[in-house]
Symmetry: C2
Subunit: 663 residues, 2 copies
Amino acid sequence: MTTLPAHYDKIDQTLANTLRLLAVDAVQEANSGHPGLPLGVADFVSVLWTRFLKHDPAQPEWPDRDRFVLSAGHGSALLYSLLHLFGYPLPLDELKRFRQLGAITAGHPEYDPALGIELTTGPLGQGISSAVGMALAERWLAQRFNRPGFTLVDHTTWVLASDGDLMEGVSSEAASLAGHWGLGKLIVLYDDNHISIDGNTQVSFTEDVLQRFSSYGWHISRVDGHDMAAVDTAIRTAQAETQRPSIIACRTQIGFGSPMVNTAKVHGSPLGPAGVRATKEALGFPADEKFYVPAAVRPRIAQALRPGAQARAHWQAQLQAYRQAHPQLAAQWDEQISGKLPAGWQNSLPDFSNQKPMATRATSGQVIAALTPILPTLVGGSADLSGSNKTNPPNQQTINRQNYHGNYIHYGVREHAMGAIMNGLAVHNLRPFGGTFLVFSDYLRGAIRLAALMKLPVIYIFTHDSIGVGEDGPTHQPIEHVTSLRLIPGLVTLRPADGNETAKAWQVALERQGPTALILTRQALPQMTAKNNGLHRGAYILQDSATSRPDIVLIASGSEVALAMEAAQTLQAQNIQARVVSMPSWELFDAQEAAYRAQVLPADVPKLAIEAGAGLGWRRYVGLDGAVLSIDSFGASGPGSAVFAKFGFTVENIIAMVRQLLA
Amino acid sequence: MTTLPAHYDKIDQTLANTLRLLAVDAVQEANSGHPGLPLGVADFVSVLWTRFLKHDPAQPEWPDRDRFVLSAGHGSALLYSLLHLFGYPLPLDELKRFRQLGAITAGHPEYDPALGIELTTGPLGQGISSAVGMALAERWLAQRFNRPGFTLVDHTTWVLASDGDLMEGVSSEAASLAGHWGLGKLIVLYDDNHISIDGNTQVSFTEDVLQRFSSYGWHISRVDGHDMAAVDTAIRTAQAETQRPSIIACRTQIGFGSPMVNTAKVHGSPLGPAGVRATKEALGFPADEKFYVPAAVRPRIAQALRPGAQARAHWQAQLQAYRQAHPQLAAQWDEQISGKLPAGWQNSLPDFSNQKPMATRATSGQVIAALTPILPTLVGGSADLSGSNKTNPPNQQTINRQNYHGNYIHYGVREHAMGAIMNGLAVHNLRPFGGTFLVFSDYLRGAIRLAALMKLPVIYIFTHDSIGVGEDGPTHQPIEHVTSLRLIPGLVTLRPADGNETAKAWQVALERQGPTALILTRQALPQMTAKNNGLHRGAYILQDSATSRPDIVLIASGSEVALAMEAAQTLQAQNIQARVVSMPSWELFDAQEAAYRAQVLPADVPKLAIEAGAGLGWRRYVGLDGAVLSIDSFGASGPGSAVFAKFGFTVENIIAMVRQLLA
């Protein structure tokens, strides 16, 4: 598809050096940043961007563009230089404001597809792992929408990864899955520079990386990352391999062209005025020019962009024809691209009123069963706990290399990759959800945080949410986890009390622009709430006192709501009037108006919060004069009911606490 | 060293089946647990325990025993059966109380070396990763203490790992390091049963595991896990390989002997009465007997234990001779085994009074420099951020395969493995500390939690602790992290305000029995506190108001203490009397007596808490009528001071908040 020759000339070299020095100048101007990677990778990245990358800066969000993921996010100056040079809406002034407050050229790339930034990256290992999800989504979309004569989806996901990306465990997990899935259109360019921050990679990274990727089922190759023609050939070979993902180890010199070449120091420190000057001289650029773009590179870039623009035009014409040939599919395509769910989907949410007691993981499973047939983008999965998390729908169609367009993913025991891959699915407008035990939410926090930063509507199904886990004991009993999830900005944590709250929680999660954690029980809970309950307000009066003013407000979440209801009944028999507030979400409640909050939790009534987890944070709802029934130590192994009793989660203890509070 | 023949007979088979059925009965009795693994692995585990494992149940904690790590902790019933059968202090009654409240036979093994439980395991991937640390510690101790003619330390670390262990990224990270370090005395028996919870491993785990381990530099082999003689040979071959860790893939049938053999269901569900009966019949055991131990196995076990007892006796005799030949080393050995630090080490802590402003990561570096020469067990490291974390001491001796007895570990960009490996070092009484950026504490929470469960004195050096990180932006700016660490039971989180608090924090950390997180700044802070400051009390009055009763209490931690001090000065000029409380640790403050707490934070004085992180949790110190200056969104990329100003961390804003509070 390229109109540029496969041979490389002096202009190509100048273009690569232009990228190098734009990045160097940006870093120097900011007096902060990472010049080493841009200097090292510019040659092979130039090859990719001039000869292979299918994109059109005039329409950055064209759906079938290739994706370029800078997994080594610290090389952001390179990405911004590329985007600027290739005509994305990133003006030179923004490059000059690199790393300044309010600039679009943040220290690490921040997800903005309209600008050509496909993922937020920086935490190593995440970009490459999410790219696995992106490449999987590409195949999913291709199988869903492509028809004979119509290839709506057919693009490559390219990743620039560093040593650090490949040392992180999350990328090992994701790479194993990429090999398992045979993602032939995933191509990783590995900046194999033998240097990490602590020095030569010999100090800690002596494994045979390519052999490892081969063991995952990847196609591997090795090339001199400064030899453009060789890189070109390696990429063509990788493209020709359609059944396996490819990794090309591009041997480079970090800080190429600078006096600090091949040192760890050049990784993350500006070169300094003298270093910048020396680098410009070494690369044959005018030493006194800043942000200099030689005239010769402009036509080369224009030429490089032509095939992408043509491909995009061709694609759009094709889409028009597709609308004629496959109107229903075309409508689905529009819906897919818009990220919207089919109108009225909420009507399919089940009603659990008057049903038998069920674990909220089970009611969640019923919601999934109800929604999967009508929400085509819903793609579930579990880190090898499908039966426990109740994540798999009755019509489970496992996604694998024989069938990409399924609705279920077996992630294996790889929680962190699950999180990162879901981020990759979400940027393609799939609606992923994935399960594990709540206690193992710790394993994927890195990925959750990025979902929150990118505002991706990923749904986490965290089951076995308390000491109610029982016999599996402290290693499997979450204590600190619900609240430590509440702490993540932009994540909404929902701990429903029964089936109807579970259904509402799913509704909130699916309607959000941002990630949501559903916190679900292992054990059965009675059905107490109405279909039209107040979960979406974060907290609401589930049952008020018989008197106009309650003596006590019992606040509880999840499995403890039933306990609070039981306690309220006993209290009433003792002439103590209790209001029961179900509080599935702090985040949603805090977002309510003050008047509503004051109505639910009146200032002048004593309050007891009940939650089988860490107590930290509850004080802002019960005040210093209220009380909190919580667990601030590790749990214990034993039958769930015995463990609950051991930690004081009994009606008797609640009564005693209320009496002490009122005394 | 064995007196048992290398060939295997009917009694060996009976012994293996005894283990199988003890485990099956325990699970059935509890009506909870995991029979699949014990049934599957009993044959090869019997080979290990009868022919190879060097141990002496009469002295479970003999320092030079082999370590057996059940990384697949869900197979606890097998471990308890082994411990019971081989004479550890685990009576049959406890086996019958499997998974009951208060039993020593918890759902997953809980660290108790006196009982023969070398690690708390259950969360997959952790055991094998910590075992890497244990095997490294073994080499470290060997090099430190062994002398010609005296081999005090020479034992093998054995690991039983499952598919799940090997899918987890943390084990990939740790295995790469084990290969890098050439840990020849680490031998992993991989229960290669082709089944995980979601079904056949073909659904998600199709990589070539052994090729992967080969790429890490491991010795690999494959064997029929039910063929005892073949397992014996494979283990001998692994033992003969001294320069590389070994992994032996033992092909087994999960649930061997039961009607549910080779199914996922047998993994985690009791067999049921009929299933138990059928299994006993299939294995030739009396169907009506429970917890049955055939008479023939007792002498076989006694015989199997003889070499271990002899080795232990020989070792103790050797130690006596060592005391004569190397009295100084012997004294160090005793200290090492006791886990105590040399008396008076605290005297070496530096005094930072009147020194220039420094980042607390830098003052921490000076503490490390001062302590490393006098604390022989201190072993530092970093996940490839040594220069940033200031973790490496001036006399850095890198631990590698040429020199195990160093004081510094380059973990590479592998935070999770760092955490798990430190746990392994700590069970051998090394005093590990390891650094990364605070924002990446998320990556190792799984390992931190286990350190807390095991009460291991691991020290985490988490630097770049706030938006003060500056230009690197939101992906690198911690917001929720300090408080989410505070949430972990048993972990103490310390955020010192300057050099002297940093020194005190190190003292607290080194004197604790349990893990400690040091939260340190990137940016310089003025020296404000006395050498004899109150950090150990969690919070203390750093500067009181001129009046006897303050108008306002400013509470701050870490870098915000200096800001509070500055604000107090400005307030005084405005005739508002402020007390400044430095609060480096919630956990330590909460442990103080009520009177002290009330003295520091008087109930009737308005309070403003200042911390550049999530505000959640501060209400319990400032009350509902106090105020909190915090950050409850993600940060921003820009120079640190600009970012601080953007989020209101300025004297002006504090004054405004105080005025509003007092209005």
